[in-house]
């Protein structure tokens, strides 16, 4: 660790040597030292060093694989075509490592900077910014890019697409999806029912929850069966991610939900669910209160009311 710090503090070249050493040793102590080194060194230089030296030689670790699976595959494939985000096959040939590192660290800033390539991608994604991946570091980016390169070189990447069944969806799937969405059937692995936070066309009463967006057009918005399935495999929004991190959806549940969302999308023909607005809630509240008061008045009709005033008024008649 002392060695690493000295290296980082003395020269950039020294830093990259230290880094290489640290990566090879694969001990947690060395990695802590690496973080310390990065903190001391100028970030740009380090990124450059990483891009040039580390990626080529570094084998893909289990940890990187897991990170990629959890954080990237819900929107990206490698050689499987675009989902919510673009296909990552050969991405390092389209953009430089430096550009990619910058982008992944803060996608919004990169897009807002006006770079034509990023803006085009952003438009393709219908104006949805890519979320900053959790716990991302230049080191991790380098490793991911190495992984992408390795996978791109294969004839068929294991990330070419979802393993979701591609059998034809039946009305039975739609019905099961409806029951799962509305919470009539519990999710096998303990995931919460969608209706808690989302509404969709055709949910009765006051509709579903309002925390998340209306899912009526989610099927078309996300771009079809594959993308919706990918999203549901590991939901990425800041609200959903922690909820589903420990309680994922089972594959057959995803299929049913995709069937249901497709069905909803077709039924609604693109329009939003509508559902109850604030005035409906207000009206229901006021009406409910009035009904409750009427009920109380009935149950307590024998209650004591003023005696004296009634007595005096009766005598005046």
């Amino acid at each position: 660790m002392l060695h690493c710090r000295l290296g980082a503090a003395t020269a950039v070249r020294g830093t990259s040597v230290a880094l290489r050493w640290a990566m090879r040793t694969r001990t947690s102590l060395a990695r802590i030292g690496l973080v310390g080194a990065l903190a001391f060194a100028a970030p740009g230089l380090v990124a450059e060093a990483l891009a040039q030296d580390v990626a080529v030689t570094e084998p893909v670790s289990e940890e990187t694989l897991a990170y990629f699976k959890t954080n990237c595959t819900s929107c990206h494939t490698i050689g499987g075509g675009a989902l919510a985000g673009p296909d990552l096959k050969d991405v390092t040939k389209r953009r430089t490592r430096e550009q990619l590192t910058k982008y992944i660290q803060d996608p919004k800033a990169a897009i807002d900077s006006g770079d034509a390539y990023w803006v085009k991608l952003w438009n393709d994604a219908r104006g949805v910014y890519m979320p900053t991946p959790p716990g991302i570091t230049p080191d991790r980016i380098a490793k991911i890019l190495a992984l992408v390169d390795a996978e791109s070189a294969l004839p068929k990447s294991r990330f070419a697409g979802m393993t979701m069944s591609d059998r034809a969806l039946t009305p039975a799937d739609v019905e099961r999806g409806r029951r799962l969405f509305e919470g009539a059937d519990a999710m096998k692995l303990g995931a919460p029912a969608c209706i808690g936070c989302h509404t969709v066309e055709g949910v009765g009463g006051f509709g579903g929850g309002r925390l998340g967006p209306d899912l009526t057009d989610a099927f078309s918005r996300l771009g079809g069966r594959k993308s919706v399935g990918a999203w549901l495999t590991s939901p990425q929004s800041p609200t959903m991610a922690p909820v589903f991190a420990n309680a994922a959806l089972a594959d057959d549940e995803i299929l049913s939900l995709v069937a249901y969302l497709q069905d909803r999308s077709l039924v609604a023909g693109g329009r939003a669910a509508g559902g109850a607005g604030i005035f409906e809630y207000l009206a229901a509240g006021v009406g409910g209160l009035a009904a409750l008061l009427a009920l109380f008045d009935f149950f307590w009709r024998g209650r004591h009311t003023s005696v004296r005033r009634a007595m005096v008024e009766a005598s005046r008649r």
């Binding site: 209650r303 004591h304 005696v307 004296r308 007595m311």
Partner: protein
């Protein structure tokens, strides 16, 4: 036999002149604090009349006291099941309109009024809102039959009368009224104590005084609804219920309660009796007309060796037993049987007894002239001005026999005294009257003495409270003396 000592009271209504001195004495001592303006722990009502709070005797509206089907005894106001839906609002609670909106006057108006043709007046100000109010009602608005067309005619006890009797009673030349001073009855079977969800109300073990623990009261007000006499009041300032405490700090130092002490007519008697607590639940389930006799039956003779033995077993001190032997209550209620409980049909067994007023006809109206030279000096008690049914409903749960007995004996005592002092009644007549009233010369003399000549110690036989002994039971008196100071008791305030 579970012998206990209970302080009881007798009010001699024939002597009450309705001066309200008792009410004022109580007000000045106890209820001149914020939140108690409307409270009258002691009040004097005119009967017939609706009283305070208005029509408190109407238990169809107020649901006070107990009801029984002969097997079980239930509170009318609440039950284990009903307390939940009614937890935030008791449906039978009296409102401010049933008491009255307390007021004072803006006396500064008298000094600041500009010069004018008329006398300045002080504007009445509500003590609740602080705004000027039109006074509509007060704690004794129906005093002396004031507004009798409204108040007296709505007296719930008039239900016992036929419509004809009612009209007769209100015919202008037959108007009749008497006064009924009321305080907490410190009942043997108090509904307020039974109703309290917090266990804040309790009956003192040593003398049966019913008190509200101001620390434990949680403002449920179940006691206010449950008390059929409406003698528990809610203090809106402290958020606690309050009631007559029978001036226990005075009793503990051998003084009569303030209302007793100040009574101008000396109508009030106080003393303790021993009673059998074991038989309470049994007698509370008896039919209405048996209740007066049943209550008398559980009052125990303090000269009976078995009773004395039972009292000693329960830790009642000799001095308290001795005090029960001299108690005026014992004489009025058990020996002479001329004091009756108010509305015993509420089954709380009040320990305040009333000697019913005679209300004899003293003159008649003949052709527009008042004729007072009646044939008989004392009219027949049967032909008293207030119908027997009315008085029977008030004092004997409809058992008019008990009332007749009490009235007859009082009349016999008068006749006997007339024979002795004036002499225009023959001895034979006097003896006949006494015999008819189940009375002897000695008894008549005793009644006369305790009614007409009684001094302080005859009227108030206050059992020693033995506070020093009560301390001894808990700790060493010397230690108590050295550690007791002014204490750290807080004034009652809202909240737990």
């Amino acid at each position: 036999m579970d012998v206990r000592s209970q302080i009881g009271m007798v009010f001699h209504l024939d002597k009450c002149i309705g001066c309200h001195t008792c009410s004022i004495a109580c007000k000045n001592v106890w209820t001149d604090r914020p939140g108690t303006e409307y409270m009258w722990w002691n009040n004097v009502e005119t009967k017939p009349g609706t009283g305070y709070p208005t029509r408190w005797e109407d238990q169809k509206a107020f649901k006070g006291g107990w009801e029984t089907d002969g097997k079980s005894l239930q509170l009318k106001s609440t039950s284990k099941a009903r307390i939940i839906p009614n937890i935030f609002h008791s449906p039978s609670m009296p409102s401010m309109d049933d008491y009255y909106e307390p007021w004072t006057y803006r006396y500064s108006d008298l000094f600041t009024a500009p010069e004018g043709d008329d006398q300045p007046t002080a504007v009445p100000i509500s003590m609740v809102t602080g705004e000027p109010i039109a006074i509509e009602s007060g704690p004794n608005f129906d005093d002396d039959l004031g507004g009798s067309a409204v108040y007296a005619r709505n007296d719930p006890n008039l239900e016992a009368l036929s419509p004809d009797q009612r009209e007769q009673m209100f015919a202008i030349e037959r108007l009749v009224f008497f006064y009924l001073p009321r305080i907490c009855n410190h009942c043997l079977n108090p509904a307020c104590v039974a109703a309290c969800p917090s266990g804040a109300l309790y009956k003192r073990g040593e003398d049966g005084i019913v008190l509200v623990n101001q620390q434990r009261c949680r403002a449920w007000r179940a006691c206010v609804a449950a008390c059929p006499y409406k003698k528990v009041f809610y203090n809106w300032n402290t958020g606690k219920s309050e009631k007559c405490i029978l001036c226990y700090p005075r009793l503990e130092t051998g003084q009569a309660p303030a209302c007793f002490h100040s009574c101008v007519g000396r109508i009030r008697y106080l003393g303790n009796v021993l009673y059998d607590a074991d038989r309470l639940t049994e007698i509370a389930k008896l039919p209405d007309h048996e209740l007066v006799e049943a209550q008398r039956s559980i009052l125990l003779d303090p000269n009976d060796p078995a009773v004395i033995e039972g009292a000693r077993r329960n830790g009642i001190h000799e001095s308290v037993i001795d005090s029960a032997r001299r108690s005026p209550l014992w004489k009025f209620v058990k020996v002479w049987k001329i004091a009756l409980p108010p509305h015993i049909e509420y089954r709380t067994f009040p320990m305040l007894f009333y000697v019913p007023p005679l209300l004899p006809v003293m003159s008649t109206n003949v052709g527009g002239k008042v004729k007072s030279d009646l044939d008989a000096l004392f009219a027949d008690t049967e032909k008293g001005r207030a119908p027997m049914e009315y008085m029977g409903k008030l004092f004997a749960a409809g058992n008019e026999g008990k009332l007749r007995y009490a009235l007859k004996k009082q009349m016999a005592v008068r006749i006997a005294r007339r024979h002795l002092t004036v002499g225009d009644v023959t001895k034979e007549e006097a003896e006949r009257a006494l015999a008819q009233a189940d009375c002897t010369w000695d008894e008549a003399d005793a009644i006369y003495r305790l009614t007409a000549l009684a001094n302080f110690d005859d009227r108030f036989v206050i059992p020693p409270s033995q506070r020093e002994m009560a301390i001894e039971m808990l700790e060493d008196p010397h230690e108590h003396r050295s550690t007791a100071g002014f204490g750290f008791r807080d004034a009652p305030t809202r909240g737990a």
